[in-house]
């Protein structure tokens, strides 16, 4: 049971990473990751909303009538998004401006709706909270990583700090939308390659006697 819960938590970080494996929420992923900090902030906002909405929906799963569940989910999610928006506007106005329209758009972010629909509406509260946390963490990690790569190549800085004179030779294309697609696609290929490699290794070690035979065939 305990390892099950751990699985629920880590599931969203690597195995079903929302950005690289499930390919959900690509719109904010491509739009806000021009800087690492924006990616981190977007990820944190989504994590908070995901955690709260998963808990709330899991608690209310018996109350919400099946036929109107999507509007009900959206109302719950919108409530938390409004909270995030107001807090950010008050305390982090520059980040609020940087994220712009993508902050309110978290309401219709498919990761949150997908987790509500696929997980929180049919699982206990603690599991739902862990799932939300794991998924949110995976999303944050991916967005921050894409942001770091794009900022480094596109503006020659790391979390806003210029690195040497890298800014003089930086390639603007990476902070333009085209560069977003490029980095996203390349990183996704890399993640798929690495997870494939890891899975193969797992497979090989569990089928050690078959391994030699397989290699002989190749």
């Amino acid at each position: 049971m305990k390892s099950n819960r751990l699985n629920t938590l880590t599931n969203g970080i690597v195995k079903s990473n929302p950005t690289f494996r499930l390919v959900l929420g690509t719109c904010p992923t491509l739009a806000v990751t021009t800087q690492a900090l924006n990616g981190l902030a977007m990820g944190a906002a989504v994590t908070f909303v995901l955690l709260c909405s998963n808990i709330m929906i899991s608690l209310l799963k018996k109350v919400i009538p099946d036929r109107v569940r999507i509007p009900a989910f959206v109302v719950i999610i919108a409530t938390f998004v409004t909270v995030v928006q107001m807090v950010m506007k008050k305390f982090l106005p520059s980040l609020y401006d940087a994220l712009g329209v993508f902050l309110p758009l978290i309401v219709v972010n498919c990761i949150i709706l997908a987790r509500a629909e696929a997980f929180a509406s049919c699982n206990p509260v603690l599991d739902s909270a862990l799932d939300g946390l794991g998924m949110g963490f995976g999303f944050t990690l991916s967005l921050t990583f894409i942001g770091i790569v794009r900022e480094l190549l596109g503006a020659g800085s790391f979390f806003g700090m210029p690195i040497g004179s890298l800014g003089n030779v930086s390639m603007t294309v990476f902070i333009l939308p085209a560069g977003g697609f490029l980095v996203y696609g390349t990183l996704m290929a890399l993640v798929n390659f690495l997870t494939g490699l890891a899975e193969n290794r797992k497979y090989d070690s569990s089928h050690k006697e078959k391994k030699n035979e397989k290699e002989a065939n190749v």
Binding site: V169, T172, L176, A178, G179, L182
Partner: protein
């Protein structure tokens, strides 16, 4: 390779291989290379060598890492590298052609499966990547050199810092004929534009050199004459219409045709086999589309030049053109009621 190759029709055998075709393209580009050295000095040649080397190196490295059969001997990487270099202004630092070629080969060509499977012309996509990456460096042009002043090596000063490495940037900066056309009439003489003694990227300035290479390719039947003729013709017609609307029907025609990368694009980039339609009708439609988009971007867009964007966009719609222009098989009767 296996001796018995099973493949679909047509089973026409001839001496031509990918390698010989690419070598012929390289031969056809020699006049443009000579012109680029004549007008911009030996730094132009240096950039071209660097770009070709980077393209070949990137392809070799990619094949090595992915454990694929080595494909650099088909010379297509060299063509891509050279075309990309001919699309650069002379005042770019050394790393621009290297990164551009590597991007063109790895991202546009090899990741899609190598030669024949790329969706867009690698050189065009590489140029657009560089244009978005270093907009300022890619759109600022300098004057052709004067050999009698001993300027043959003068643009080597750009090697590290690009244009900032030049002693007096303002004195050597110049507009391309297309940019001056945008702000009124072209200042450059038509003869200078035809020969290439104007500002522009390495290989685009000399219409004469490109024409020699293009005609060679058409005569050797490497490329179909329909593409360059339709492409350039469409641009000329639209320039005529645009000029007529402004009250000077002829003022725009020749500068539009001779200026910018039209000849380079029409003869060498819009004729790439894998990214253009297969039928003659399809090629005509493709070239017309290229000309139309080029004219629209030149006259109404925010960039002074639109040849590369036009070719990239038409590369992307090529599968649909092929589908629409499918030839009727011999003896095939269209079913009643079914409309094409």
């Amino acid at each position: 390779m296996s001796k018995y190759i099973v493949s679909s029709s047509p089973h026409i055998a001839n001496e031509r291989t990918v390698t010989t075709i690419m070598l012929e393209v390289l031969i056809a580009l020699i006049p443009a290379v000579v012109a680029s050295v004549y007008f911009f000095g030996f730094y132009a040649l240096f950039l071209e060598v660097l770009s070709v080397g980077a393209a070949i190196g990137a392809e070799a490295l990619f094949n090595l890492i992915t454990k694929k059969e080595q494909t650099i001997t088909d010379c297509s990487a060299a063509v891509t590298g050279l075309l990309l270099a001919l699309n650069l202004p002379v005042s770019v630092p050394f790393y621009v052609p290297i990164i551009g070629s590597a991007f063109a080969i790895v991202f546009v060509k090899m990741l899609f499966g190598g030669i024949g499977k790329n969706f867009a012309n690698p050189a065009i996509a590489g140029r657009i990547f560089l244009l978005l990456a270093w907009s300022a460096a890619m759109t600022s042009f300098v004057k052709p050199i004067v050999w009698s002043n001993g300027e043959a090596f003068s643009y080597f000063r750009c090697i590290l810092k690009g244009r900032d490495g030049l002693v007096d940037v303002a004195a050597v900066s110049t507009a391309t004929p297309l940019a001056s056309l945008r702000f009124g009439a072209a200042k450059e003489g038509l003869l200078a534009m035809f020969l290439g003694n104007v500002g522009g990227s390495l290989g685009e300035t000399s219409a004469l050199a490109l024409l020699i290479g293009g005609v060679y390719l058409i005569v050797r039947r490497i490329i179909d004459w329909r593409v360059p003729v339709t492409f350039i013709g469409t641009v000329a017609v639209f320039a005529l219409i645009y000029g007529a609307a402004k009250g000077q029907p002829l003022a725009y025609v020749l500068p539009s045709v001779l200026g910018g990368g039209l000849f380079l694009g029409a003869f060498f980039m819009a004729t790439d086999y894998s990214t253009t339609p297969n039928t003659k009708l399809g090629l005509t439609v493709f070239a017309f589309g290229c000309g139309l988009i080029t004219s629209l971007i030149r006259f109404f867009g925010s960039y002074p030049e639109g040849v590369s964007f036009a070719i990239l966009l038409m590369n992307i719609v090529t599968p649909y053109i092929d589908k629409a222009c499918r030839p009727r098989p011999f003896g095939y009767v269209q079913k009643k009621g079914a409309k094409a």
